[in-house]
Structure formats: structure tokens, C-alpha cells
């Protein structure tokens, strides 16, 4: 990937969020979100539990409509686009949901194969081959014919990852990919994510609480503050750790060992 060597800011913008306000009815969850994800970024959305990270993700993929503001993919205005254009755009996006969201009436292989059979002209045998390959990437070789209810939560998460990658999307959204994985699997997952960026040139947006993984792979991030109801930090998490003066951000990045000392749950 040619862009991979450049510093993030030199790569073209891929996702641009302008003045986004998210609300449920009259209840404003977050307001004035402004950030840019560059092509090839691994972008972390951080924040305490319940602050609205998954909700932000659902806005980015059009499952929820912004109360205010706009979302752009490159030059494409996603917010004002009509459903057909959106559908075109969504085909270039892969999503891993927080709870996996595998289709429960299909085997793992069928889950991965469905988008392939709908959107490509591959033959059934080829599709099966691709599905097997994607599943083996996430360490599920041999589980092709299992149903989602027959495997563990962590395995469902990984199968969801395989499905999100089925069409080799340009942008991948992961909602807490490593939640429910053991430390080793979660390290392997980090490596897989880096690998995906290198090999496919994909832009990857991750919602995560895992500090080691944030510092290991993310090269840009935002922090959502549940109390201020907006983002309070934007930048490389390593820089934020070194330079941020915001006490909530510091407390998050240092597991509560720095910043205000009052005992407080995030969220």
C-alpha cells in the first residue's frame, strides 16, 4: 500500500464528521462531534461505558439519522444521499457488531458466504473456498458448518469479523472486537487488524476499551466524554497520553491512576 508509509495527515480524508449531534428524541447524547478519519487509518473511538460509542458507529453506517450535522465518505455526502446511493456505499463497508449479530439460521460458512453470493459472480465452490479462508483468518478453520448458537461468544465475535471482511471492504467498523477474547487471541486480533490495513489498505474504525490494543495499533482517536456530552480529545492516543491535559482523558488512558483521584466509574 503506497499510502501506508505517509504520515496520517498526508493521506486523503476518508470519513469526515461535521458538527454531528446524536439524540434520542429530546435527549441529546453527544453534540458537536467533528473529526476526520484518513485513508488507511486505524482510528479508535474511546470513552466510558454507555457514553455513546456504539451509537456513533450506528450513525456512521446510517442505521441512525443525525439530529444535526453531516457525515461524508470522501466527497460523498452520506447524510443527504438517497437510499440507493447509500446502499452502494455500504457495500464497500464491513461492520462487526458489538454482539456479533451473526444470522442465527445460517452456518458460519453461510454467514460469510451470503454477501459473496449476493454481490459477486463467483461460483458456489469458489464462494465456499473464500468463506473457508476468511474463517481461517480469524482462527475458525474447521467450524464452517457450525451454527452461531453452537459456538462460544468470543468465537461468534471472530466469525462476525470474518463476515465483515467477506467482500474485502475499504472501510471496516469494529465494535469492541476484542471484548470476550482471551489476552492471546486479542493480541492476534490486533495483528490481524494491522495486517488487514497493510494488505487491503483498509481504513479501520474501532470502538474499544482495551488500552494495550489502543496504544499498539491506533494511529488516531477521539475520546467521548459522557459528562460533557461531546468529544474532549482527538489525536494519536500515544500523544494524548504524553501531552493531554484533560483529566478525564488522562484517567481513561492511565486506567484511573492519573488525573482526578476521586473514585468514579466511567459512565
Amino acid at each position: 500500500m503506497a499510502d501506508g508509509l505517509k504520515a496520517p495527515q498526508q493521506r486523503p480524508a476518508h470519513i469526515i464528521v461535521k458538527d454531528l449531534t446524536m439524540a434520542f428524541g429530546t435527549f441529546v447524547l453527544m453534540h458537536d462531534l467533528n473529526f476526520t478519519v484518513h485513508r488507511g487509518d486505524i482510528f479508535a473511538i474511546m470513552g466510558g461505558s454507555g457514553c455513546g460509542k456504539s451509537t456513533l458507529l450506528r450513525h456512521l453506517i446510517g442505521l441512525l439519522e443525525p439530529a444535526q450535522g453531516e457525515i461524508f465518505y470522501g466527497d460523498f455526502n452520506f447524510t443527504s444521499a438517497d437510499p440507493e446511493q447509500r446502499e452502494q456505499m455500504l457495500r464497500r463497508i464491513g461492520v462487526l457488531y458489538q454482539r456479533g449479530a451473526l444470522w442465527s439460521s445460517m452456518t458460519l460458512a453461510e454467514n460469510v458466504a451470503l454477501p459473496l453470493s449476493q454481490f459477486t459472480d463467483l461460483k458456489p465452490a469458489q464462494i465456499r473456498e473464500v468463506a473457508r479462508f476468511k474463517l481461517s483468518l480469524v482462527g475458525l478453520a474447521g467450524f464452517e458448518d457450525y451454527y452461531p448458537s453452537d459456538i462460544s461468544g468470543g468465537m461468534q465475535k471472530r466469525a462476525g469479523l470474518a463476515r465483515a471482511m467477506a467482500l474485502d471492504p475499504e472501510i471496516l467498523f469494529f465494535d469492541e472486537p476484542s471484548a470476550g477474547l482471551d489476552p492471546i487471541s486479542s493480541r492476534l486480533l490486533d495483528e490481524l487488524i494491522l495486517e488487514l490495513r497493510e494488505s487491503l489498505g483498509a481504513t479501520i474504525v474501532i470502538v474499544t476499551h482495551e488500552l494495550p490494543s489502543i496504544f499498539a495499533i491506533a494511529d488516531n482517536s477521539i475520546f467521548l466524554d459522557a459528562e460533557k456530552r461531546t468529544m474532549t480529545a482527538h489525536g494519536d492516543p500515544k500523544d494524548l497520553l504524553a501531552h493531554s491535559t484533560n483529566s478525564t482523558v488522562r484517567r481513561f488512558l492511565t486506567r484511573g491512576q492519573e488525573g482526578e483521584t476521586t473514585r468514579q466509574f466511567d459512565g
Binding site: 450506528r58 453506517i61 455500504l90 457495500r91 451473526l102 444470522w103 442465527s104 459512565g267
Partner: protein, 376 residues
Amino acid sequence: MTTGNFSVWSESDTLLTVALRGDWQLRGHLPSPEAVIVEISTKPPAKLKFVAEELGKWDSGLLIFLKPIVDTCRNHQVEIELAKLPPGLSRLVQLSEAVPEREGARAIKRPEPSFLERIGRRAIAVATSFKRFSAFLGSLTLAFIKLASGKARFRKVDLFQVVQETGANALGIVSLISFLVGVILAFMGAVQLQQFGAAIYVADLVAIGMARDMGAMMTAIIMSGRTGAAFAARLGTMRITEEIDALTTMGISPLEFLVLPRLMALVLMMPILCLYSDLMGMLGGAAVGFTMLGIPLPLYYRETAAALTLTQIFGGVFKATVYGVLIAISGCFRGFQCGGSASAVGDAATQAVVTSIVLVVVACGMFAVIFKILGI
């Protein structure tokens, strides 16, 4: 073991003392802190002291007693001395203070709405529900156009599976109910007709009754309870587990993928089930005619064959097809509208059954009028 009790006294103008005695446990009797709170609020001392020399066993029960007192003290700027309490207890009190209540979290709880407000909210809810239903019908029509042009995305396997679930698997219950309905019709007719010595006309009554209305109606009611509810529960669960969202973001319309096969399956199966139900009902009638009225079976058969016309049979089958559409649409719509919890799935299933039975009965009434006008 003594039950928990306490006493309050003012040692001086500025110092109030609360002495705790006995056992304070969730399972035992817990005194109310009201007396102390009143004391503090009416004449706030500078300092409140707890003594616990005779305190026995204690658990969270004591904390429940202390917390409101401590809160009142905070509100009236009364200094509290916890030092005399057992160390574990004073730490727990401090901990419960340490995490302030999340601002805004409670603001969502609104006061009980007034009667007028409730009516207004209900009306708005009905209006939005109607709007959503119209939108659902609209998108469904578009999906059908796509189906007609061969571009709809769904899996044939799913269609076959729903056909099996709604069709073949329902035969048992349809047989039983329809046979019994035939028996009931025959009984009711027989009581009257026997008085005129016209018992043979029971065959006409059962045949026409089943073919025109009862066959379609009974199948529809069975399918509402069996299939409509299943559709709603299935789609509702898929909504909760984000499976529907996953389809949407894949660029696969859930309407095409999930609703079309279900609708088609019911449209295919309802006419067949209806015919089958007609047949079973007539068998029920024949059983009564043979055993109770002593009508020989060949005679009963001939009478039935003479009474039935193709128009009647097709009329019933047509009605059944329309009922099938209504059941599938209400089941799928309720499933799609499902909220985010397990109880919402139950509600969706209930609503699906209620909606489809109401729609079926209303349609049945409309058919009666229309068929009358058309002279069928």
C-alpha cells in the same frame, strides 16, 4: 439477640448523639430513621455523633438506616463523626458517598403525565404507528416489484423452509380443528333440520358453510396464532440481536430477504390448507350424519357433491389467500417494529396475533358484503 434500636439525645446545643444498639440486619426488624431526620432538619446541630458500643451484628440493613441521615446532614451542613462506628461500616458509608449520582441520568424520569397528556401521547403513537405501517406497505410493494423483475435478494432455502413450517407442519392442527368445526356445524344444523325431517340437508349446510367461509376462516385463525406470532417473534429477535441491522449494512434489504419469503410461503400455503380444511370439515359433518342421523355415506356424499359449486370453493380459496397476506404482513410488521428487550418480543408476538385476527375478521365482513353485491 436483641433487635436493632436506637436513641437520640442532644448532649449540648451543638452536638447531637445517636446511639445504635442490637442487631441491624436486612432479615430482621429495621427501625425507621425518620425521628433522627426530623430532629436534624428542625434544629440542625453543628455536629452529629454516632455511638455504637452496644451494636451487635450488622449488614447493609444498617447502611439503609444511616444513608438518609448522612444525606440530611450534608444538606444542612452538619458535621458527622463516624469514628465510633465499626471501621467496615464507616468505610461503606464513605464509599456510597464517593460516587456522585450521574447527572442527567435521573432527569429522564418524568412526572406522571396528566390524563390529557396521556390521551395526546396515545394519539401521537397511533398516528406514528399508522405512518410506519404505510411506509412498511410502501417498501413491501417496491420489494414486490423487484421480485417481479427477478432482482429481489432472498435465499430459496429460506422460502422452502418457511413453506414447510407454515404448510406441512400445520396439517395436524388444521385437521383437528376443521374436523371439529364440521362436527359442530352438523350438530347445530341437525337439531333444527331433524324437526322437519330434513336431516339430509345437514350435508348441504356443512359443505357450503365450510367451502364459503368456515374453512378459510378457521385456517386463518390457526395460522394467525401459529405462524403470525412465529414471524413476529423471529423477526423481533433478529432485530434485537442486530441481525436485521447486519443485513441492512450489507446492502441486503431485510424486507426482501426476510419478509418476501414469508409472504410468498403463506400465499402459497393458505389456499392449499383451506381446501384441506374444507375437506376435513365435510368429513366431520359426514361422521355426525352417519353415526347420529343414520344417513348412509354414499347418500351423504351425493348430497354434498350436489350442493357444492366451484364458485363457492374458489370464493373460499380466494378469501384464504387474502387472509394469508394479512397474516404475513401483520406478523412481519410487528416483528420489525419490535423494541429492544426480551419482553418486547413477547409483546410483538401478541400484537401480531391480535392485529391479524382483527384484520381477518374485518376482511371477512367486507367479503360478505362484496360477495353479496356481486351475487356470488
